[in-house]
Symmetry: C2
Subunit: 228 residues, 2 copies
DNA sequence: CGCTATAATGACCATACGGTCAATAGTCTA
DNA sequence: TAGACTATTGACCGTATGGTCATTATAGCG
């Protein structure tokens, strides 16, 4: 019972180096807000950190400032620079590149803090999401779409709308796995590599075919009676 | 300016039939909570409805009761019974069935109230999501996975793990479109039918191949091979 | 029209929130 | 060890929240 944590009553007041205290606060805030959302209170967070809530306001003038910092910590500087080279390396097959990238990307984002905070931010209407998705579009979606066009035998400077949609589709499958796991709380596969191999294969086998207009026209969507 | 709405000052107190008032409250709550999340206040909601917040408590004893009602309204009774027959109709090709179903399904859920509330509920940890996804798995994912196995030449009573994952992937692509539109606020295609045709084609062309373990190794994307 | 049942309200309560500030207590240096 | 610097705190403020209740006013009826 000589554990000096807050469990068995009063924790002793500890005087830390401000930079370390700040790190602890940010770290704790990342976890806390990812769990309860940004309507969580400063008092609750402070209690979890074992400090008074007044101290939080010494390090961050407002709650909004703390939240901004959490965003920054989670999303900016989350892109691995090595991925640029990986996605661009034409000496490696597209299949290989996609599998490697998405396995690593999924591993990077597949945690509750990232996924939940990202979605919380989207619901709250922050611009962070749109900025982040623009980055994804530029660095992942568009290049993949261009490679896809090449794979389908088409040549052109820019990727078509359809190729972009298909590329977003692949991305969506990856993200949806994380959503099912961390937002809906359902049990999903833990075999990340296997999952990525599966959907990348599906993508490379199916997407070029879907790009051919003739094949699509072959399929008729006859609308059912418009109900309800 | 003889409009008797709340815009030009005081709205006259109106005495409605309780059932209609209740309907108005639920309808308004669905919209309100989908916009601001469930941390929205009863007073705010009441102001939007042009009534006092005390009246809300006459119809719903607690805020939680209102929220429950919103869930019920949005998710239960949202499954179109015609879809059961549609998905099960073996006289129609799987391609046709998938395109029809997902075009209608997407049309049904592709609105801010549904998508945002569903995700809010997931973040809040309600069981509604898991119940709903179990329904989706039973009625959509599993049957599609079985049909997929058949398409790939496999026969068995139950669908394999991989087939289920692939089927979830298709579903995820559809849902991700709605997420991009209503949660991230990015501009995405409004051509629902075209989008669904695209990803269903990709699914049917790619997923059977992805199910074959041998085929996966065969894939060699050789981009930029000069002289081909 | 006058009466009544009850839909609707305003004022109120306890609590929880973001934010402030003077007082307190660790830690490091002389 | 004495002192000073400052990280940390408890008490406090104004506001907003979920929820209650006696009072008020409106629609329907005789």
């Amino acid at each position: 019972m000589q554990d000096d944590r807050q469990a068995s009553g009063q924790a002793k007041r500890k005087r830390l180096d401000p930079r370390q205290r700040e790190r602890e606060i940010v770290e704790g805030a990342v976890l806390y807000f990812s769990e309860v959302g940004f309507s969580g209170s400063m008092r609750d967070l402070a209690a979890r950190l074992g400090i008074s809530h007044a101290l939080l306001f010494r390090y961050f003038p407002t709650k909004e400032a703390l939240v901004d910092r959490v965003y920054e910590r989670l999303f900016l500087s989350r892109w691995n620079p090595a991925w640029d080279a990986l996605l661009d390396d034409r000496s490696v097959s597209l299949s290989e590149r996609l599998m490697r990238f998405y396995a690593q990307y999924l591993a990077a984002i597949d945690n509750p803090a990232w996924v939940r905070t990202f979605v919380y931010a989207g619901l709250a209407g922050f611009n962070i999401n749109q900025r982040y998705l623009k980055l994804i579009e530029r660095k992942v979606i568009a290049p993949v779409a261009r490679d896809l066009e090449k794979l389908a035998g088409r040549h052109g400077p820019a990727a078509s709308e359809k190729a972009l949609e298909l590329s977003w589709g692949l991305h969506g499958e990856v993200f949806y796995l994380a959503i099912r796991r961390w937002i809906y709380g359902t049990r999903v596969t833990t075999d990340v590599e296997g999952f990525v191999a599966l959907i990348v294969t599906k993508f490379l086998e199916g997407a070029p075919a879907a790009l051919q207009p003739v094949r699509r026209a072959r399929i008729r969507a006859s609308p059912l009676t418009p109900g309800s």
